[in-house]
């Protein structure tokens, strides 16, 4: 697929980085040569230096035969204008814009075909906020992503030592859950994926990925990890866009929230914007005295959300040492994330992976409704719709055991109308089923996409 990316900032860079290896021809446009040089030297893509809202620059970047245009420059206005140009002048089939302001999304006519012609809006701030929110709602999980409009969840859970499931095989897991629709699709031990067969024994410390009917999710996780005390008190460091959104959302859910922000003017702004039950504190997240004075040891969750990776890591380590029960840090750089996850920092959240999940479904071929990155971006789960019939499709009318999936990949769940089915080897897939597939390494994704593409005779 030919993809044009506008903006080599943090979002643009991570989008390019994530898409570059997947048989995509990528061109990145930016006005700053510095970010472009970084990309050019590390990845097999083309960079164009210039203003992406100018027709000549877009032309030089080859927009005429682009399949997908992703505008993720820093300014909303630039992104919207670029999308409009892409549609009006060059008729690019799909256009995605990163939009920070929530106001555009509220007025659909602005983004529609008579407005700025944006097919889909991505908002990294919103994705990360939702993601963090789900982590607080399911305090036992390392990652929660939803499929089939929230009816199916994919959970990543670390198995605690006292968990009833520890030292049991996957077989006995099924027996222990007669009334829960859940299935383990992946077991990660010491950072490496274990080939999970029915006889695999789960050890304490393993990370387990399971697909589960959302209604049963809470019960399922409890099985894997000793239930944690419910979360009430939350402290957030960093009152940027994400911090503010998250604080507001949590306050609405009646959590007790404290928000630390370094900049005094910003603090004032935050205190006018946020509901009264959010306590805005002026200071630094790495200030030991401040944390102690604000009773860090009573906090159920600490979340570091500044734009500085190192600051987030240090303040989270400090919070953990001072007694916060669970610490979550926003970490942009993939290398840092892998380093910190599972150390003293309980969960490392990568904003780029959260954004990618939003983008992926537009990049995937076949009728992919939702796609999510799992395990720090290594694995992926997609929800694809099976179309066609036994002749034209490689999945419809076949039993699960007959579908040729790549090694390690598995079909986790089927959604047929209102029904959620946890398939076994003999379940037959019907047309228009939503199939949720787990793929352990994203390089194998291409083969899964092919499975769900209908051969030409269908049309």
């Amino acid at each position: 697929m030919k993809i044009l990316i506008l903006g080599a900032g943090r979002v643009g860079t991570s989008v390019a980085e994530n898409l570059v290896s997947e048989q995509n021809d990528i061109t990145v446009i930016d006005t700053q040569a510095e970010g472009l040089r970084y990309l050019q030297e590390r990845f097999d893509l083309r960079v164009v230096h210039g203003d992406g809202t100018q027709v000549s620059v877009l032309k030089a970047a080859g927009i005429e035969d682009a399949d997908l245009f992703i505008a993720c420059a820093a300014r909303d206005s630039a992104n919207l204008v670029a999308c409009k140009i892409a549609r009006v002048m060059f008729n690019v089939p799909r256009r995605i814009a990163r939009v920070r302001s929530a106001e555009f999304a509220e007025h659909a006519e602005l983004l529609g075909d008579n407005g700025f012609c944006v097919d889909a809006v991505i908002s990294p701030e919103r994705s990360v906020t939702n993601y963090l929110h789900s982590l607080i709602e399911f305090p036992e999980a390392l990652q929660v992503v939803e499929f089939a409009s929230g009816r199916v969840s994919v959970l990543t859970v670390r198995v605690g030592a006292g968990s009833p499931m520890a030292n049991h095989s996957l077989d006995s897991l099924r027996e222990a859950w007669p009334d829960v629709s859940a299935r383990v699709v992946d077991v990660v031990r010491d950072g490496r994926a274990v080939q999970a067969g029915s006889g695999t024994v789960i050890l304490p410390g393993d990370e387990v990925v399971l697909i589960v009917d959302t209604r049963h999710a809470r019960r399922a996780i409890r099985q894997l990890r000793v239930a944690e005390k419910s979360v009430r008190r939350i402290m957030i460091a960093g009152g940027g866009n994400i911090g503010m959104r998250l604080a507001r959302k949590l306050a609405e859910d009646n959590y007790s929230v404290r928000l630390i922000e370094r900049d005094a003017a910003r603090c004032e702004f935050l205190s006018t914007q946020l509901p009264n039950n959010v306590l805005v504190l002026h200071g630094s997240g790495t200030d030991e005295a401040l944390l102690t004075r604000e009773n860090i040891e009573d906090m159920d969750t600490w979340i570091a959300l500044t734009s500085d990776d190192e600051d987030n890591i240090m303040s989270s380590l400090l919070a953990k040492r001072l007694g916060a029960r669970k610490v979550i840090a926003l970490i942009n750089r993939m290398a840092y994330g892998e380093l910190m996850q599972g150390s003293h920092i309980d969960i490392a959240v990568s904003p780029s992976q959260a954004t990618m999940s939003e983008l992926l479904r537009h990049v995937r071929r076949g009728d992919v409704v939702v796609a999510h990155r799992l395990r720090q971006g290594v694995a992926e789960a997609v929800e694809a719709i099976a179309h066609g019939d036994r002749k034209t499709s490689k999945v419809v009318g076949r039993r699960v055991s007959e579908i040729r999936l790549p090694t390690g990949a598995s079909i986790g769940a089927l959604v047929r109308g209102d029904e959620i089915i946890m398939p076994d080897a003999n379940t037959q897939i019907e047309a228009d089923d939503h199939v949720i597939v787990f793929v352990p390494t994203r390089q194998q994704m291409a083969r899964v996409e092919k499975l769900f593409q209908v051969s030409a005779s269908f049309f």
Binding site: D25, I26, T27, A33, Q40, R42, F43, D44, L45, R46
Partner: protein, 489 residues
């Protein structure tokens, strides 16, 4: 050490790819039984074997190439391939009873691959067809670059391919890609190269050469090499049509192939006008051609104006594009003319073409920089950045161009001094260095178009080999390996 082994793995693969180009002359030798069958069958197997051995032995160390790995890789490949290329030459001459020294065989191969076209062999007309075909093939492959070919058709290079591509393609600004993927950029360049080569082949045939001669001359024209199948070169054919075909395709091959590609993609000659090099290149060729013809006419070398024009323009294009074909022995002309043309050969061709020298774009940039410098002297507050097509050129590019010129000049001086030290007369020493460092080919004196480089001693030959190598790889790729910083961990 591990890095070197990882590099050796790619070198092995490239060698296998290169060895497979030996199949063409091998088949020719077998079909026509021209006396070089053994040489090519054995040479092919040995070359393939060396490549395969290197590839398999270092398989365990295969790794993604890092940016700096491009330099040793390219240098190793360019040192290793002439080695493989000289195997069939060595075997053939050994069995024919007129043994060729290793130095001579390596010189000939390096001269072919770097598209220099300086030959050390005599009696080309009596050589088996397959040997001449092999010499021509070397030029053709070396013209666009064997590693560019490897990047195009071997998927393994990935990101590293970008580094390799940069280290092998000539020119100061290599970050403008034709397509997002480096592999498809390399493919596009080769597609243009192959397409133009076929046109050239047919044109030669129509102009009256035999199929075989047309093929060989196509390869050395498009590669801007200048190897001929005849000792006398184009003087042997003495045909105006053939010379016109040669001139047209030499001019075409001296233009950036990326420009050809753009022109073809948009079906518009505007690309040539927008290219910062094509116009100055054509103007320089036209003006020099006319001046040289006028000089020849006035000095009485050719009393007829049209004859002067024919020889003047052909020689100008041939030497300035670093090809080195000759339709007459131009060393007999007043010394100033061929010497001037040799110097010009260092400047005329474009970056991204198959020609040698320091490339037109660098001269354009340098002139613009000087102009900007003068403006700032007059108006100290003036902001006058150097621009190409309305875009500001990165100052880092400018300083690298200045450094390049310095290294180019210094290399010529040092190598000439060395050649003088070995006892060559000044005219021959200077012209031999110029002709090899610019990858032009024929020099003056005994090394002229009708002579050969066989008069060189072994040491002098190695100096010339070194000059050809650094000229083709544009100095820095090779010189960077000689710095201690590069090897420090």
């Amino acid at each position: 050490m591990k890095r070197l082994l990882a590099i050796a793995n790619v070198v092995g693969l490239t060698m296998m790819l290169f060895a497979s180009t030996m199949a063409l002359p091998m088949i020719m030798a077998l079909v026509y039984a021209d006396g070089a069958e053994d040489a090519f069958v054995d040479g092919f197997l040995i070359a393939l074997g060396i490549g395969a051995f290197l590839w398999i032995a270092t398989r365990r160390f295969r790794a993604e190439l890092r940016p700096r790995d491009g330099f040793p890789l390219v240098t190793l490949v360019w040192l290793g391939l002439p080695l493989l290329a000289s195997i069939p030459l060595l075997i053939y001459f050994d069995r024919a009873g007129i043994p060729l020294s290793f130095t001579d065989a390596y010189f000939e191969s390096m001269s072919g691959l770097t598209t220099t076209g300086a030959t050390i062999l005599t009696g080309l007309d009596t050589l088996p067809m397959s040997i001449n075909l092999w010499r021509a093939t070397l030029v053709w492959v070396g013209g666009m670059g064997i590693l560019v070919l490897a990047v195009a058709i071997l998927p393994l290079l990935g990101v590293g391919g970008h580094q390799v591509f940069r280290a092998e393609t000539p020119g100061p600004m290599k970050d403008d890609r034709l397509t997002p993927r480096i592999a498809s950029t390399a493919k596009a360049l080769y597609a243009v190269y192959v397409g133009l080569s076929l046109l050239c082949f047919l044109a030669y045939r129509v102009a009256g050469l035999s199929w075989f001669e047309a093929w060989c001359h196509m390869a050395t024209t498009m590669g801007l090499g200048g190897f001929s199948t005849k000792d006398e070169g184009f003087a042997y054919f003495d045909s105006l049509q053939v010379e016109i075909v040669a001139m047209v395709f030499m001019v075409i091959a001296g233009i950036n192939f990326a420009t050809h590609f753009t022109a073809w993609r948009y079906r518009s000659p505007m690309a040539y006008l927008r290219c910062p090099e094509a116009v100055p290149y054509l103007v320089v060729l036209a003006v020099t051609g006319l001046l040289v013809s006028l000089g020849l006419y006035l000095s009485g070398v050719y009393p007829q104006a049209l004859t002067a024009l024919r020889f003047g323009v052909f020689t100008t294009i041939s030497v300035a594009t670093t090809t080195g074909y000759a339709n007459t022995d131009y060393t007999l002309w007043p010394l100033g003319i061929p010497l001037f043309l040799l110097v010009l050969s260092g400047f005329a061709t474009s970056a991204g073409s198959t020609g040698g020298g320091i490339k037109m774009i660098r001269v354009v940039l340098l002139i613009k920089q000087v102009r900007a410098e003068l403006v700032t002297m007059l108006h100290p507050h003036a902001v006058s950045p150097v621009r190409i097509n309305g875009r500001v050129v990165d100052p880092r590019v400018l300083s690298s161009v200045a450094a390049f010129m310095l290294v180019y000049g210094a290399s010529i001086l040092i190598l000439t001094a060395i050649m003088l030290g070995t006892g060559l007369p000044p005219e021959e020493a200077f012209s031999a260095v110029l002709a090899t460092i610019n990858n032009t080919g024929p020099a003056l004196g005994r090394f002229g178009p009708m002579g050969s480089f066989s008069a060189l001693t072994d040491f002098q030959a190695w100096v010339c080999i070194f000059a050809m190598l650094i000229g083709r790889l544009e100095f820095f790729t090779v010189l960077i390996l000689l710095t201690p910083t590069f090897w420090r961990r």
